[in-house]
Symmetry: C2
Subunit: 442 residues, 2 copies
């Protein structure tokens, strides 16, 4: 009998898991259930439509459902899985019993409503599902003032988008600077300046106390520093893994509260895999479990889970987590972690910093690229790095993640070969200069 593979979830992890499972075992029946109306769109694009940098939501769709059907995948939209029966290897989807030999749980994440008074008011919004995004886009036409709760990656994107749209926008964040989970203050600072130039009001070190409103509608956000008037509040807090269904069959959770999986993305139960924001994976240098990464991580994890579910043999390596984005009008990114996190983890380090440039210093459009590298004292082995400004931040983050994976040292980067061409690269690559400076501190 041909293998039956069921995938719960139609996001990046679920769709890539299904596609890879079918490719690995073309004989298999592959079913994908998603509670949503849509699949294979780019949720990461929603802030840019809201911010009117992208003209419409239609562009965010990658492929229609028919593409998956053509690939032989049984894609079931608006289909809610309410129960899994692990003993009998079935699940109940929209009331129908669906049998499986192998299950892949890609149940994603949720933003949690903050547990403060007034959290039932109309005007508290999440940016996640595209249909809700389309509604929010309409709502924003009447919004004068907005609060964004927490300056993680989505929060920074939404600050940029709302300000770009001309809305008076306030950030409320308990941290002392932006992107505090991954970036150090001096790296975040140019982005903060850019957001201020766009008109954003940044309230750091500020705690949420309650949401205030009248007639069931939000009118303001009460913080430790007073009330900020607001028509909406975008909740951009930590991505909490959605594990309800998996827990119901006893799948083990890890230290982050997400599913614990092995290197094959298999859960604690044979024949049940998981991928994406509902799982945790080890960080490469520390082994510490991390969760809530990016869409490209979800996609790669899905590919690994799908390959193994289909009978292949594929390992998902510990992650070095390259990241990058545009905040205000400034690029920022990095890989692994920075000084603040290293300090709190008790990891010793030396630092190498440089204020490099993106092109020859005399070429039009040249921009500063600030680099900060962390390395192990003595050996100089890289621990992580961050960059801000200029161009090529995404590509440098990818490079650094690869260098970290390969155990590269400051010396390796200090003596790296680099392209020198006035319109696209300076004589001194900023990464290399930072590494040279760091070597003096070893």
């Amino acid at each position: 009998m041909a293998q039956r593979i069921c995938v719960i979830g139609g996001g990046a992890a679920g769709i890539s898991a299904a596609s890879m499972a079918k490719r690995t075992n073309p004989e298999a029946t592959v079913v994908v259930c998603t509670e949503f109306e849509d699949v294979a769109y780019s949720p990461c694009g929603i802030p840019y439509v809201l911010g009117r940098e992208i003209p419409d939501f239609e562009r965010l769709f990658l492929a229609g459902p028919e593409n998956y059907e053509q690939a032989g995948i049984d894609l079931r939209r608006e289909t809610v899985v309410t129960e899994i029966d692990a003993a009998n290897q079935t699940m109940t989807a929209n009331g129908q019993v669906v049998p499986w030999d192998t299950l892949i749980v890609c149940s994603g994440w949720n933003y949690l409503l903050p547990d403060v008074p007034g959290n039932d008011l109309e005007g508290l919004t999440f940016v996640k599902n595209i249909r809700r995004g389309i509604e929010l886009n309409e709502t924003l036409n009447d919004v004068k003032k907005a609060v964004v709760l927490e300056a993680g990656p989505l929060g920074v994107e939404m600050l940029t988008a709302l300000a770009h749209r001309g809305i008076e926008t306030h950030l409320v964040d308990e941290n002392a600077w932006l992107l505090a989970q991954v970036a150090d203050p001096e790296i975040a600072e140019p982005v903060q300046e850019s957001l201020k130039e766009l008109g954003c009001h940044l309230h750091f070190g500020t705690a949420l106390k309650s949401f205030v409103g009248s007639n069931g509608k939000l009118t303001g956000v009460e913080t430790s520093e007073g009330i900020i008037d607001a028509d909406i509040c975008v909740i951009a807090t930590h991505k909490e893994p959605e594990t309800t269904l998996g827990r119901s069959i006893g799948l083990k959770l890890g230290s982050t509260g997400a599913f614990a999986v092995d290197e094959r993305m298999q859960t604690s139960m044979a024949n049940v895999f998981a991928a994406g924001d509902c799982v945790e994976v080890p960080q490469n240098l520390t082994g510490v479990a991390v969760q809530g990464l990016t869409g490209s991580h979800a996609m790669q994890q899905g590919r690994v889970a799908g390959a193994n579910a289909g009978g292949g043999r594929r390992v998902y390596d510990p992650v070095n987590i390259p990241w990058g984005m545009v905040g205000g009008q400034v690029q920022i990114g990095g890989a692994s972690f920075g000084e603040s996190l290293a300090t709190s983890l008790g990891i010793p380090y030396v630092v190498g910093v440089a204020n490099g440039i993106s092109r020859a210093r005399y070429f039009p459009g040249v921009q500063q690229v600030r680099v900060k590298l962390l390395a192990e004292p003595g050996t100089g082995k890289l621990i992580g790095g961050q960059f801000v400004g200029g161009e090529g931040i995404k590509e440098r983050a990818d490079f650094l993640a690869f260098a970290l994976k390969r155990g590269a040292t400051l010396e390796d980067l200090a003596w790296m070969e680099n392209v020198y061409s006035p319109p696209i690269g300076a004589l001194y690559e900023p990464l290399s200069v930072a590494a040279q400076n760091g070597m003096a501190n070893l």
Copy 2:
């Protein structure tokens, strides 16, 4: 007695050698002799001033001579070294005998005048020295038609510059496509299209036969395909190593005609080092000697030679040669070599190609990035790669050179982590997609 280190040549190699020697041994007397009026400017910027993308030549100067004097370097400009006495460890510079304990030869390269009739006509020009560049900039005001001889990197820059300036510009090149030494035809093609859009006339497969003129001035370039009218001809042929002085003391040359050096940049003679375009170094994958690389290679070689001359211990690794540039309005680059060179070297390979994108496919400014990777059959170990289009070509070339140095495989790139953020990076990194496609061909 303190060490006396003499450097012949004031280009990127010579200046960085002197600086590093002085830093390594602050007690040393470090003398730099250059025949030219200037040091520490960016010759690579000259085409962009000529093309009016950079407003003036003054910007190309990095630091005045006084900076080197402040660093304790005895910098002698307009000083021609006419003789080296290896037995007595002296050299004659502007008639004066200068003693040395350690010599660093950074005598650079020359463009050779083509050995065809009419090569003494006024109007044949090289783009190399900044004073000649300033004169050429004046001359170009009266130039209507120009020929560029050979489409190597400088040739492509000059085609772009002259066309940008509004001059009718013709390329004469015996090869069948542009940048044929490093790029394959399908990678070069978008650059060729862009140059044509700028109005360049590209004559490939066309041999130079003679220069024609009247009253001692160039009026045309005779080729295998007929005469092309021209007021000037830019000679952008291969960079020939300048080895006259070194040969006079018996320094050994390698297969390219440049100085053979060991991994410390030491020549065949004890206490004589060499760096930059007058030396050859091994290519990483093949061990084949290469010469005439980039300014950043000259600078790094100079640092190594200077460190060792100053009593340090520093190795220059075999090169993977990341390269990149803008031709017309298109970025092109790569690392190591392409299919054409692999074929002529008899190196077996498989190919992985992809037409990726530089941002999310719906984000304004997204551009195609064409990637072509070569890898060893069986193992999938990377041999080289090329890219064209889009953004981030320089950074990808740096990445690929690093991956090559680390012996990375197609599989490593296929499963690399990458940043996904709509304004700066696509879900699928083009390098990774090309690697995935290449794996299917292993």
